[in-house]
Amino acid sequence: MSATDVTLLTAAAAVDAIERGELSAGELFEAYRAAAAGDELNAYLWVAQDAPAPVREGAPLAGVPLAVKDLFCTQGVPSQAGSRILEGYRPPYTASVVAELAAAGAPLLGKTNQDEFAMGSSNENSAFGPVLNPWDRTRVPGGSSGGSAAAVAAGSAPWALGTDTGGSIRQPAALCGIVGLKPTYGTVSRYGMIAFASSLDQAGPLTRDVTDAALLLRHMVARDERDSTSIGFPGEIALPASESLEGIRLGVPEELSDEGVGIERGILDAFNATLRLAEQLGATIETCHLPHAPHALSAYYVLAPAEASSNLARYDGVRYGARVEDGGLVGMYTRTRSEGFGREVKRRIMLGTYSLSSGYYDAYYGRAQRVRTKIADDFRAAFESFDFVVTPTSPSVAFELGAKTSDPLAMYLNDYCTVPMSLAGIPAISIPNGLSDGLPTGFQLCGPAFSENRVLEAAYALEQAIGFDELARRARA
């Protein structure tokens, strides 16, 4: 196979080819390394220069390399969370999930660009410049895991790790035409993930197809004693094989699938087309209700910034990262943080600091927590009648660079359909389900906590029926 041919293989296919002896892991790594080094989308902040140590005999991922979002700590390798304040920071340890995957045979290919501290939906908040969408380089790839999504979509990485706090895996996956899965909160260790909002952050795969997502997730889920909030996964993640949705009940929440809430017509058309396909596969489709979902975004923009304001307090110039001297202690703090953080990060630190302040806590943080509980209850109620709740992933296709940078609220609305699942801590997958104006659209499917295997099975059946690769090929021709 030529170097280009090998990078056309899905990760699972590459694993098979290596195991059958048709492909060498070294050859594959070098092909991707060259592709990543030649990336023109600004998707990478660091690319491996040397071949990794050979993976152990029988390692299940066989040496298929992995692109990793910048905010995962990787020992001796820059881990900057897309921020100037951590520019050049090389941690002395590696994040649990990255170490697990390396041990399973997925060596580090590169670190991918992202919105600073995962705050953003377009990747324009990276201190190291925006990532370009491989479908149209004048458009954003989504965020915050935009580098990971663009790398996988462009074929410079077989698969990638991202993190999702309010949609940061699913939305860029949708905008780049790939698969992105946010697992149940607690299934994947957060140890070594530079935190944005601790109670929401969760690592997940960005892949070319559902099978790859299942394969990567299989080696990510684990109880980690270094993360008290990690639970692991009961059982094993299976590779999906179902081509039917017979007997599956899909709930379509009125609150998250209506043009009235700002979802583009083309997105809804693709969504409805997928619903018809689901029916053909045997699913029943009914409207369901998540009455508190319209408040999810408001609650999210209280809770996430509150946690962030505290999580980001450690970047004070005292021990590591950027430090700007200014005579005294307070001056040093002020200048380091003023110059080290970008605008959006500072905005959220201010928001969070305010909502946690004495006298405001109950009105903001306390109330937002109650809304969060209500939203989780809404999903629980829905799952009594439905196997899955489905929505469009993003209200719009990839938008042009700069289109929303001056309007934070418009930017925040990108997460309208993804934030409720984050608040409820439940698994949700986005799969590409069509094109609108020649740009990919995403279909989101979520289930109860720890229903990853069922979510993957259903997503796989839909994926086969949608035939997105064929759609994309025809659109490009």
């Binding site: 881990s79 941690p91 002395p92 140890y191 601790s198 307090a313 450690r314 946690l356 004495s358």
Partner: protein
């Protein structure tokens, strides 16, 4: 003139002597070179997460049991947010509105709450002041950062500095007895802040309080509180008002300076620590804490009294755990007379070893018990027994052997040696002999004194008296 009554509550921080730090696996520091006992977690490096130390929770539950607190079936950690270079995460993980223990009482003082938290790192300021203001540069030693702390908060039940000091002594003994901390004020494993207000006697509502920090010894605690009471009283007497503020006590100058006013108080923006799950106190954990409980000072005091030890000695032995342990070990070696044994420990031994642990001295409890037995058996006089104790403190050894080697044993009555010495004493003190003959037995002191000088204290006073009477035909 109005009489004022002080109202004092204490906030005590106790470093727990766990095997590892509160939220990571680093060992606790005992003066190691700076920054050698650190890891990514206690340095607050990006991406790291805390995990709660089960032993610290166990110790916290033991403290709660000792103080008679309600132990929360579920408690949670909060983040206390503020910027300071000794706080690597920009927040301290502490407990806020759902602490591990609530309520309770120790002695006459009610307990408000007990919670767990992590200690800050240590700042060392270059320059003359030793404080961050006015220093040229500061360096941080993270060895101490993350050490488990139990914070014990009392109700404002104390009414004087002396009472505060005495109560803190009881608390220290209780904690030492639990084995949960070194509780050493000078070394910082026991730290105490005081909330102080005063009010006219008879008034029930509280006056405005101030918080006095940095009293790093029992002596300074008492002096600091007294100084603050005097300051507040002087203010009120000349028509002023006490302003709520945090104060710093300088042990060198004994001066009180303001750290920050109420307006400058930090807004700590407490919120539940999302990186930790709630502490669910299981029946198993409670059972483990209960079964680890030793006898506490109050109970020991009572038990020692029931053995026949005087109230004063029982308190001293019970409140200084190491004295009590020493006493009980000696009693196990020779339990014939608890009170004389207690006297020898509380008076003679303490006079010689001071604040040090007698168990670490060269006098084994066994040796002391033997010495007291020698006195009881009249094999050595009390005076000479003290000399033997001096020798034991200096070199250790066996008291009987020392008595033998030094010739300090009592000259027995049948001993021919004593008779001529008494004879000579009577001759040399004819006046006294005459008085004794006349019925004035007090005069025998001079005779005995003479004999003792001659015998270097080896004579038994009673035996000398018997011989004197015999010789004078009484």
């Amino acid at each position: 003139m109005t009489e004022f009554e002080p109202v004092i509550g204490l906030e005590i921080h106790v470093q727990l002597s766990t095997r590892t730090k509160m939220f990571c696996g680093c060992a606790l520091s005992f003066g190691e070179p700076p920054n050698t006992l650190t890891c990514p977690v206690c340095l607050g490096l990006p991406g790291t997460l805390p995990r709660a130390n089960a032993q610290a929770i166990h110790f916290g539950l033991m403290i709660g049991l000792a103080l008679g607190s309600d132990l929360a079936p579920r408690s949670i950690f909060h983040r206390k947010n503020y910027f300071y270079p000794d706080l690597p995460k920009g927040y301290q993980i502490s407990q806020y509105d759902e602490p591990l223990c609530r309520g309770g009482q120790l002695g006459e003082v009610r307990i408000h709450r007990v919670h767990l938290e992590e200690d800050a790192a240590k700042l060392v300021h270059a320059g003359s002041s030793g404080r961050i203001h006015g220093s040229d540069a500061s360096v941080v030693d993270f060895n101490r950062g993350g050490t488990p702390l139990a914070e014990i908060v009392t109700e404002p039940d104390l009414r004087s500095a002396a009472q505060a000091r005495e109560w803190l002594t009881l608390l220290r003994t209780t904690l030492r007895r639990l084995g949960v901390s070194d509780v050493n004020m000078e070394e910082g494993s026991l730290r105490c802040d005081a909330n102080i207000s005063i009010r006219p006697v008879g008034v029930t509502e509280l006056g405005t309080k101030t918080e006095l920090k940095n009293m790093n010894s029992f002596r300074f605690l008492e002096r600091g509180i007294n100084a603050e009471i005097a300051r507040q009283e002087a203010l009120l007497r000349c028509g002023g008002q006490v302003v709520q503020q945090t104060l710093h006590f300088d042990p060198q100058t004994e001066r009180i300076t303001s750290l920050r006013s109420k307006e400058e108080a930090h807004d700590y923006r407490y919120f539940p620590e999302p990186d930790l799950v709630p502490v669910a106190t299981s029946e198993q954990m409670l059972e483990a804490a209960r079964s680890a409980m030793p006898e506490l000072p109050a109970a020991r005091e009572e038990r020692l009294q029931s053995l026949g030890v005087s109230a004063a000695s029982a308190r001293q032995l019970a409140w200084r755990t190491e004295l009590g342990d020493y006493f009980e070990a000696a009693l196990a070696a020779d339990g014939a007379e608890p009170q004389p044994l207690a006297n020898w420990i509380c008076n003679e031994l303490v006079a010689r070893v001071g604040e040090d642990d007698p168990n670490a001295s060269k006098v084994t409890p066994d040796a002391l018990a033997k010495l007291v037995a020698l006195v009881r058996q009249k094999a050595v006089t009390i005076g000479n027994a003290k000399l033997v104790l001096d020798r034991l403190v200096a070199d250790g050894g066996d008291p009987a052997a020392i008595v033998e080697a030094e010739g300090l044993g009592v000259m027995a009555g049948g001993d021919d040696a004593l008779d001529p010495i008494v004879e000579a004493a009577l001759a040399a003190n004819a006046d006294a002999a005459e008085k004794i003959r006349g019925g004035n037995m007090k005069a025998i002191g001079a005779i005995i004194g003479h004999v003792m000088r001659e015998t270097k204290g080896r004579a038994d006073g009673a035996e000398v008296t018997r011989i004197v009477r015999q010789k004078l035909g009484l």
